[in-house]
Amino acid sequence: MTVNVLLLLVIAVTFGAGITLLLERSLTRIVVGTLLVGNAVNLVFLVASGAAGRAPIVDPDDPSPMSDPLPQALVLTAIVITLGVAGFLLAMAYRSQQLQGDDEVQDDIEDTLIMALAERDEASQSWEDDTGGEPDEEGADR
């Protein structure tokens, strides 16, 4: 199996650009990243399908090699799915913009709270103002 180096290069660049965008906080950029990564995968399938040939329709009179139809069917499925997900993400970006004025993905609030507690080396509120009835295993662990 021979591999087209140019195609590989395009795949690498598209993946790189797509992943970089996926790491952004803005949902719109993430959508673009999703599309790029999705297209890069489709190109990978193109490489995987091997050498191109004539259209994959069985014809006993034509001995020249056919293209492999299966990867094309798989790519078609993948394209449809990527499109659907991108549409959903766009809707989410729009909703996020409606709700908070931008489409940035925020940090988890609970996470931030617990991290802040850890930095201050404190226990959460539910541990402290407890009067009486302290069960054994909690006391033992302090």
Binding site: M1, L22, L27, I30, T34, V37, G38, V41, V44, F45, V47, A48, S49, G50, L70, P71, L74, T77, A78, I81, G84, V85, F88, L89, M92, R95, S96, L99, Q100, V105, Q106, D108, I109, E110, D111, I114, A118, S124, Q125, S126, D129, D130, G133, P135, E137, E138, D141
Partner: protein
């Protein structure tokens, strides 16, 4: 498709019926009662079919259907072997219970006639996706099953489109997309190396592939599935995204979605790469998942988040069994998966009830529930102790099976993971006991737990009559503002029977697993035997009804 024709026409039905039911539900978008009936009937039929399939697969070995009559190497096959059928049955029962629960919650929060136009169809599509993933005998069809269930889960996790859910949803969607991309790259690689995506066919053809290429393919597939199964270090997305969704949604996600990932790992490790177990890597992954997951759970002060972390942690037990790749290890992992699907779903449903009863799942705001709602306390206590693996409940059997398998495998790393699993069980008990003491036994504190009437209506998640799903914090009945905490608890918030019923059913089921642990372990052991031998699966798929070889 000659030998098992009677059985084989049943195999596609869990997928087909769920999709059909979803379509009908969507068409009935304005009739809430009809939607509920269609949803419940559909899933009940799926449960019955799954039970028949399990009986058939247990008696006669793997059941195969060649979709569209195409021979195995050309078309898609659906296979129901003991593993698939067992997980299908478990997931169908759990899905049905959660649907009934959500019907109850919908009625309580919106009244009996308000349609939830999107919820039921999406829920049924989710069920179709899960069934398809379990039944697929084809790697690409497995991908499609994943995408179907993921697409449905994207909708469910952002239901109502409130701020926190959109935020949690974006993390979830992006991580899922990324795992799908890794899966697709692996598929392209597999196809380039072998020219097929049929799993039975692959199990033969992959042997001819150079071992380094094979390892790369295996690692790619495992990466994709470990993201879905939330194996450390690919698990950080889960506690971030699950807890904000409505209780029934979180419950079904926690029960099923990660387990589909675990199922895919089992499949790939046994059918496709039987010689290369990557035992060391997976054992480290299992140990890290268990310990780091449970340490996260201990740090949480919200019941739903605590449960999300225990979910991650206990995925480690299943990975442990898979990593050992011995018969006992696999059988215990399968047993543990069934146990964990029911337990984790039950606990999230109970958390939903606690949220309705106590107004919150934050431990700072809860208290005195044991007096106010003793039955709810019992419903939390049983599955929680089961999760921690207290004998004689079923979690104990699963953990002992895994520990035995680990000790039988020998080696310091296996012993280390056994030790990690014991520490994890103890820390699970600790996290559970903390929740138990705080939420159920601590006297309600008027300072940290303000009267419901003061904060409740001001929460952003007020019911939206036109929305598709009730936000989880809405009050079922009117709250009398200004009253002290405890009287409000006892006087107003009665739990609706339609939500308690399915929860009781699941508590009973998860406890009953203890009673039928012997037969269930027998089925799991049978499934492990089939996975170990591989030939029943491969011959059933490749030789059944097709004479064509390529």
């Amino acid at each position: 498709m000659t030998t098992h024709s009677a059985m084989s026409f049943l195999i596609p039905l869990p997928v087909v019926l769920s999709l059909l039911g979803a379509g009908i539900c969507l068409a009935l978008g304005h009739n809430a009662r009809a939607q509920r009936v269609v949803g419940i009937v559909t899933l009940s039929v799926v449960v019955a079919i799954a039970a028949v399939l399990l009986a058939g697969a247990y008696r006669d070995g793997p059941q195969v259907v060649h979709v569209g009559g195409w021979p195995a190497r050309l078309g898609i096959v659906l296979v129901a072997d003991s593993l698939s059928a067992l997980l299908l049955l478990t997931s169908a029962i759990v899905t049905l219970c959660v649907l009934v629960y959500s019907v109850g919650q919908g009625i309580v929060e919106f009244g009996p006639d308000t349609p939830l136009s999107v919820f039921y169809p999406t829920f049924l599509v989710l069920s179709a996706g899960v069934s398809n993933a379990f039944l697929s005998g084809d790697l690409f069809n497995l991908y499609v099953g994943f995408e179907v269930l993921l697409a449905a889960s994207y909708v469910l996790i952002t239901l109502g489109g409130t701020g926190p859910r959109v935020r949690a949803g974006s993390t979830y969607v992006v991580v899922s997309v990324l795992s799908s991309v890794v899966f697709l790259v692996a598929l392209a690689g597999v196809y380039a190396a072998t020219g097929t995506v049929n799993m039975a066919d692959l199990s033969e053809k992959l042997q001819a592939v150079p071992s380094d290429v094979r390892t790369v393919l295996q690692l790619l597939l495992l990466t994709a599935f470990c993201i879905k199964a939330a194996v450390f270090p690919l698990s950080a997305w889960l506690p971030d995204s699950y807890p904000t969704a409505p209780a029934p949604v979180t419950a079904v996600f926690a029960g099923l979605l990660t387990k589909v990932g675990v199922y895919a790992i089992i499949r790939v490790q046994t059918i496709l790469f039987p010689e290369n177990h990557l035992t060391t890597l997976l054992l480290w992954g299992a140990a890290a998942t268990m310990v780091i997951g449970i340490l996260g759970a201990v740090a949480q002060s919200d019941i739903k988040r605590m449960l999300s972390f225990t979910l991650i942690s206990h995925i480690g037990f299943m990975i442990f069994g898979i990593a050992l790749a011995s018969h006992l290890g696999l059988a215990s992992a399968i047993f543990y998966t069934v146990h964990h699907i029911t337990i984790q779903t039950t606990l999230f449903l109970v958390a939903g009830l606690i949220e309705i009863r106590g107004g919150s799942t934050a431990l700072e705001r809860l208290g005195g529930l044991a007096k106010a709602a003793p039955f709810l306390a019992l419903m939390f206590f049983l599955p929680a102790m089961n999760l921690a693996g207290i004998p004689p409940l079923s979690g104990y059997f699963g953990k002992v099976g895994l520990a035995e398998a680990g000790i039988a495998a020998g080696g310091w790393l296996a012993y280390l993971v056994v030790a990690a699993s014991i520490v994890t069980s103890l820390l699970t008990l600790y996290a559970i006991a903390k929740t138990w003491n705080r939420a159920f036994w601590r006297p309600p504190d008027p300072e940290t737990a303000p009267p419901i009437g003061d904060w409740h209506p001001s929460t952003p998640e007020t019911p939206q009559p036109t929305g598709d799903w009730p936000p989880s914090r809405s009050s079922p009945t009117g709250t009398k503002s200004g009253e002290p905490w405890a009287p409000t608890l006892t006087a107003v918030r009665q739990l609706p029977a339609a939500m308690v019923g399915p929860t009781v059913a699941l508590v009973a089921l998860s406890t009953a697993i203890t009673l039928v642990a012997g037969p269930l372990f027998g089925i799991a052991s049978r499934a492990a035997t089939e996975l170990g031998e591989r030939t029943p699966y491969v011959t059933a798929v490749l030789e059944d009804g097709s004479g064509i070889t390529r």
